[in-house]
């Protein structure tokens, strides 16, 4: 069976869903169910007595087959990310950690140096490290070498909906990588997710594209179908491209009539 392998974990779904930016938790939970996602991201936030109902741990854990992947959002250094990872593991009981260190809120581009350092430390501590990175093949290789479970290069800026703007670099990362490559960030439409899968990505992570859709649960389902179709196409093997037309029908019959 074709499954996504991350550490000793296997997942039949190759769609990872983010839980941010939804209008409310009810819609978010509905979208998670509709997506069939088995890995979902969550963020750490300070407890607030007035907003106790915002806590997502209970409702998400109640969905069967869900593994949580906390992120280190809010960290701007490796030390902060490591600290966040420890706290997150305490809460989630999950070894997955999405290392996300973006010091500049204007563009949210990940800091490669701090990300590498945090990933190195956390991988050594036994975390399944999923680093969110720019589409940099050299950095991706270095992260693989320090024991990350995957690399998660961005398709375009977080929440921008600009799609696979980095596809040239993604192709190199996919070709060179021996760990799963997961496109994280920037996708807007299911066709882009299908394209990423056809390119050979092992999974995609979407959040805004579903959360900010007109109907999030239906969009979640559309992404699930697109990811599955893209994966199937990749496994089937796409035909070679040709610089010129190649006929699919015999061209000789009319001429010899």
């Amino acid at each position: 069976m074709d499954v996504l392998k991350l550490g000793s974990y296997t997942f039949s779904s190759r769609l990872i869903l983010g839980t941010g930016k939804f209008s409310n938790s009810r819609v978010m939970l509905e979208a998670v169910r509709a997506s069939g996602a088995q890995l979902v991201t969550v963020a750490l936030r300070r407890f607030n007595r007035q907003q106790a109902e915002d806590d997502l741990f209970g409702p998400l854990s109640a969905i069967e087959g869900i593994t949580l992947m906390p992120n280190t959002s809010g960290a701007s250094t490796a030390a902060e990310a490591v600290r966040a990872a420890h706290i997150a593991r305490e809460l989630s009981g999950s070894p997955f950690i999405k290392v996300e260190i973006h010091p500049n809120p204007q563009h949210l581009m990940p800091d490669p140096i701090e990300t590498f350092e945090a990933a190195r430390i956390l991988a050594k501590e036994g975390f399944l490290v999923m680093p969110y990175i720019a589409a940099d093949p050299v950095l991706a290789k270095r992260l693989e070498e320090v024991g990350c479970a995957s690399v998660m290069p961005l398709g375009s800026a977080i929440g921008s909906g600009q799609g696979l703007a980095t596809s040239e670099m993604l192709n190199i990362i996919i070709r060179e990588s021996t760990i799963p490559v997961i496109v994280d960030a920037g996708l807007r439409s299911p066709s882009e997710a299908a394209h990423a899968m056809e390119m050979g990505c092992e999974a995609v992570l979407v959040n805004s594209a579903v959360a900010a859709a007109g109907n999030p649960p239906v969009m979640a389902e559309a992404f699930a179908e697109a990811v599955a179709a893209g994966r199937k196409a990749f496994m089937a093997g796409l035909m070679e491209k040709s610089g010129s037309a190649v006929a699919t029908s015999p061209l000789t019959f009319l001429g010899t009539y």
Partner: protein, 98 residues
């Protein structure tokens, strides 16, 4: 816990001991400690444990991570871990995020 009703009650039925009781209350009040809870001042009765703090906040603590002075306090240690004056306490939960 001490409250206004308690003072009135004690005062009415134990008039002679009212002053002693008041002194006791003042003593307890002056012994209250202050911690920094998620960056904000929070007064607490002395000898409060992490578990006491969670009940004061109305949390069962199940999905809350507790960090005191940068050290994670695991659930099994919360009822015995006493908070001290000036402790920095962070309570964290999972919220939506991508």
């Amino acid at each position: 816990m001490v409250n206004d009703m308690g003072v009135g009650f004690v005062g009415m039925y134990h008039g002679l001991h009212l002053w002693d009781t008041t002194k006791e209350i003042i003593k307890i009040m002056s012994q209250r400690i202050t911690i920094a809870l998620n960056g904000e001042e929070q007064p607490l009765p002395p000898d409060s444990s992490v578990g006491d703090l969670l009940s004061i906040l109305g949390s069962d603590g199940k999905s809350v991570a507790v960090v005191v002075n940068d050290a994670i306090i695991r659930p099994e240690n919360r009822s015995t871990h006493q908070l001290q004056q000036g402790d920095r306490v962070e309570l964290l939960i999972f919220a939506g995020g991508g």
